[in-house]
């Protein structure tokens, strides 16, 4: 046996739509999707390719005075005197791969794979050869003009000073991959197993620093200044230290990689060129640039045809420099490799297309924000409205509540309440002088001391009612017994919200009571930090949002209450009697019999109220909630297109309210009760 339970059926379902409606919907969706998205902008590379006159891999690059040097496999050496635009050959330094280079003031040193070091102590002097007799060395650094540090496999550290080699190897024997000095004293060496070693005496002694990830292999380090030290691992991690001396190292959570701790590439070197700007190299044509200390890393677009692995940067300053890589690739830039936007021009907002291009995102944000508060506001307002309407229609009076007690008990309750009421009056009154008001100024007490005033007012009410209790007779005939406390409570509420302007309520609740902030704090305490994205942020990340839905809901609830109350009054009294006569409780009859009918009756006026709520939501702009109206004003602030901006905003509102009205009309049809309403033809 199929029978409908009391409840609301599904309002919209694809299967219930007639074929015509389906076609209209599908065609509309197709049309909207097929509107071409025009973009007037194109992004191109910030790098230029230079001719290096070699196919050998270039491993190291270094600035030396006005020159920039590049060193590569088989002793290849190239230099440029015009910031890397044109390159000249230089006599090979040996025939072994040159793997690392460094400069300090006028000195420059190059390390070859067989442990030979080539050095110039002056800009114009000749290369001299120093043999370290070590193999497996990986990186060289100059600590002052005449001190060399080389590091390599098995944790080896050798220092060349006073024309003598000193073994500075520590007890840490992981392979070391890079060493870098800031000045002559402070240096860092990094390597496998997350090894970080630091020196503050020019490389004579090295101390271990704890790494945030002991499993990673740190391949490159850059000691920019005592507060900015960065390193990268071959798994794409960025680690950094901002503590003087590099005592504490942390793993960067990279925003542009979705708060991951790794870029999805194996990095090979890092260069810090300013206090915020960092350049990265990696295999397969990876060049990265961060403008904010590694929080966001953008991959450089490369010139067409370049896809080598890159090995080293050499930067004259924070924008001009070169990068070298495998197969003799040398690129130069005057913008740190940052991608260039071309086709960018000052938009002409008088052109409606360009205006829309600027405004559509803002409009969409505003639209979503408006729909968001409207949905929550409607739900909240409706719940409050129903509750208030039930309170207002509740027939429970003091007489009903007290009937089951004997007169003696009622007098007892009355006495206790009277004492409490008088105490409330006394406590309230005692607070007032603290406000230091004079005479007539005491009318401002409700604002000056809300708690005191509430105590005073409540005290008077309690005292009056309890006096009536004490004077109670057998039949409870006194006038105050007829008071319906739930009704009174709801009346105070609705009177307050219906007799004050909504815009003032918004400001009072958000700025005065700071309701949004308080709710957010409670939510943070319960569910943790909302972050800046995701579901938590959606619900309580924005305190203006919280204030807005509560204000709208509380306000709309007061109006909806009266509408629903009217609908309840329109239900024949016999319905309640019938429900009660089969044994249902008052609340049961309300829920199962009265409310289902009343809500159906009040769909049109409630719909009115909901449309009002949508339109009233525009007032949320006064507390800074970025709904449609506020977005409209922001659009105008940039574009000065007043007609277009407000026009779009107005249409957006229309779309929201019209859809809402459509939904409600549909709901009304679906829930229509046979036998009610007009019939009998036109």
């Amino acid at each position: 046996m199929n029978s409908a339970t009391p409840g609301i059926e599904r309002i919209f379902s694809w299967s219930s739509l007639d074929p015509k409606s389906r076609v209209v919907i599908l065609v509309s969706i197709l049309l909207i999707c097929s509107i071409p998205h025009s973009s007037g902008q194109e992004t191109i590379t910030g790098w230029n390719e230079a001719e290096s006159w070699t196919d050998h891999d270039l491993n190291a690059a270094v600035i030396h005075g006005e020159r920039v040097w590049a060193f590569g496999d088989s002793g290849i050496v190239r230099f440029s005197e015009d910031s890397g635009v044109t390159w000249q050959n230089h006599t090979n330094l040996g025939d072994v791969d040159l793997i690392s280079a460094d400069s300090y003031q006028n000195s420059i040193a190059v390390l070859s794979a067989d442990g030979i070091i080539y050095m110039k102590e002056d800009l114009e002097s000749d290369w001299i050869t120093i043999d370290s007799s070590q193999t497996g060395m990986k990186s060289i650094a100059l600590a002052g003009e005449d001190s060399l540090i080389i590091v390599g496999n098995a944790g080896l550290i050798w220092q060349y000073a006073d024309e003598t080699w000193w073994n500075r190897t520590t007890s840490f024997t992981a392979n070391l991959h890079d060493v870098d000095f800031n000045g002559a004293e402070d240096g860092l060496a990094v390597g496998g197993s997350g090894t970080i070693l630091a020196t503050d005496d020019g490389g004579s002694t090295w101390d271990y620093r704890e790494s945030p990830d002991p499993d990673s292999t740190i391949v490159s380090v850059s000691y920019f200044n005592p507060y900015r030290m960065f390193a990268v691992s071959d798994s794409g991690q960025i680690i950094y230290s901002t503590s003087p001396g590099g005592f504490e190292w942390q793993l960067r959570e990279i925003e542009s990689a979705g708060y991951n701790t790794t870029l999805a590439t194996n990095l090979s070197s890092i260069d810090v060129v300013s206090s915020s700007r960092i350049l990265f190299t990696g295999p397969d044509g990876y060049l990265g640039l961060s403008l904010d200390q590694g929080l966001n890393v953008e991959r450089n677009i490369l010139p067409v045809g370049v896809n080598s692995s890159f090995n080293d940067h050499a930067m004259f300053d924070f924008v001009i420099g070169i990068v070298v890589g495998d197969s003799g690739v040398i690129l130069f830039t005057d913008r740190a490799g940052e991608n260039k936007d071309i086709g960018f021009e000052i938009p002409d907002y008088n052109n409606f297309g360009e205006f829309v291009e600027y405004a559509d995102d803002m409009l969409l944000d505003g639209f979503i924000a408006t729909v968001k508060i409207v949905i929550f506001g409607i739900m909240f307002g409706f719940i409050i409205g129903v509750i208030l309407a039930m309170l207002k229609t509740a027939p429970t009076s003091f007489k009903n509540l007290l009937e089951r007690y004997s007169t003696k008990q009622i007098k007892g309750i009355g006495t206790i309440c009277l004492v409490f009421g008088l105490w409330l009056i006394y406590s309230g009154l005692r607070r007032f002088p603290e406000l230091q008001l004079n005479g007539i100024e005491y009318i401002f007490t409700p604002v000056g001391d809300p708690r005191g005033f509430a105590m005073f007012g409540l005290g008077i009410a309690v005292s009056l009612v309890s006096t009536q209790f004490i004077l109670a007779d057998e039949k409870l005939t006194g006038p105050l017994f007829k008071i319906r406390p739930l009704n009174s409570l709801a009346t105070v509420y609705t009177d307050f919200f219906r007799n004050t302007p909504l815009i003032v309520q918004f400001m009072f609740i958000h700025f005065g009571l700071r309701l949004g902030m308080r709710i957010q704090q409670v939510m943070e305490g319960t569910f943790g930090d909302p972050g800046i994205d995701g579901i938590d942020y959606f619900f309580y990340g924005d305190r203006t949002f919280l204030s807005a839905i509560f204000t709208l809901g509380l306000n709309s609830g007061a109006y909806q209450c009266e509408t629903i109350r009217g609908a309840i009054a329109a239900i024949p009294s016999g319905q309640m009697e019938a429900g009660r006569s089969i044994g249902l409780t008052y609340m049961g009859t309300m829920r199962l019999v009265i409310m289902p009918q009343a809500i159906r009756i009040c769909i049109p006026p409630i719909g009115n109220e909901m449309v009002n709520l949508v339109l009233n939501s525009s007032l949320a702009m006064v507390i800074g909630y970025s709904e449609l109206s506020r977005q409209g004003r922001l659009m105008i602030a940039t574009t000065f297109q007043i007609f277009s901006a407000w026009g779009l905003v107005m249409i957006s509102y229309f779309v929201v309210t019209w859809t809402l009205a459509l939904l409600l009309r549909r709901l009304e049809e679906k829930t229509k009760i046979p036998g009610l309403g007009i019939s009998g033809g036109a």
Binding site: A578, I673, L676
Partner: protein, 248 residues
């Protein structure tokens, strides 16, 4: 001696406006008995009936259901009402529910039955009132007589100890009255205890085991249904003749 199901003792009702509608009415209803309460308009018939299941709180007096006083503040009014069925003059079906759901509502939410159990009971009582064909209809699509029979089914489904009929046929067209009266007569034959407030003198005489005649808030005459044919008091005589004049 048959059990007394319902006992009304010295019932008074003074409305808030000061109208003294019922002035000390007392009578008993026995198991399986149908009592017809008759009287002219304003004689307090409906007030007495509504006082019985406390839709109106009596000002004074006692109402006992199986010897237990039910008009005290401590009595569970909802439990009491679920044992007393009530059929209204204007039907008062729940217009947003289908016929079947009208009947099952009390079973499910008062008796706590499951949906299928409740429907089983409901179909049974709907069969008794001959409304099985219209269980999927909404009340708005039923005729007056059908509505009243559904209302009777709704009261019957709760298996009440006594059913109160508040002028069950006064809102019906003359040709529809028959089916409703037929249904009530059937219930009477099955031994249902009933209190019927009615204007249908002939029906009262045919169905009721006993007649209570109210006049100006008091029991003016009480006796077996034969008092309709041989009224003892002059007032009942006058009332009956006025009814007779009306119907001719």
């Amino acid at each position: 001696m048959v059990d007394v199901v319902l006992s009304i003792r010295d019932l008074h009702k003074i409305y808030p406006g000061g109208v003294h509608a019922v002035k000390g009415v007392s009578f008993d209803v026995h198991e399986g008995e149908s009592v017809a309460v008759i009287g002219s308009s304003g004689s307090g018939k409906s007030t007495v009936l509504r006082c019985i299941n406390r839709l109106i709180e009596p000002t004074e007096g006692a109402i006992e259901l199986r010897g237990e006083q039910i008009n005290t503040p401590s009595a569970n009014v909802n439990e009491v009402r679920s044992r007393i069925g009530m059929v209204f003059q204007s039907f008062e079906l729940f217009s947003h529910l289908k016929v079947l759901d009208n009947v099952t509502l009390g079973l499910r939410y008062v008796r706590g039955m499951s949906k299928s159990e409740a429907e089983e009971v409901a179909l049974d009582v709907l069969k008794r009132v001959d409304m099985l064909e219209r269980i999927e209809a909404y009340p708005g699509n039923l005729s007056g007589g059908q509505k009243q029979r559904v209302a009777i089914a709704r009261a019957l489904a709760m298996k009440p100890e006594v059913i109160l009929f508040d002028e069950p046929t006064s809102a019906l067209d003359p040709e529809l009255i028959g089916s409703v009266l037929q249904t009530i007569r059937g219930l009477s034959d099955e031994g249902m205890t009933m209190v019927i407030v009615t204007h249908e003198i002939n029906f009262a005489r045919d169905v009721a085991d006993r007649i209570v005649y109210l006049d100006q808030g008091k029991v003016a005459e009480e006796g077996p249904s034969s008092i309709i044919n041989q009224p003892k008091t002059e007032r009942l005589q006058r009332f009956l003749s006025s009814m007779h004049e009306e119907s001719t």
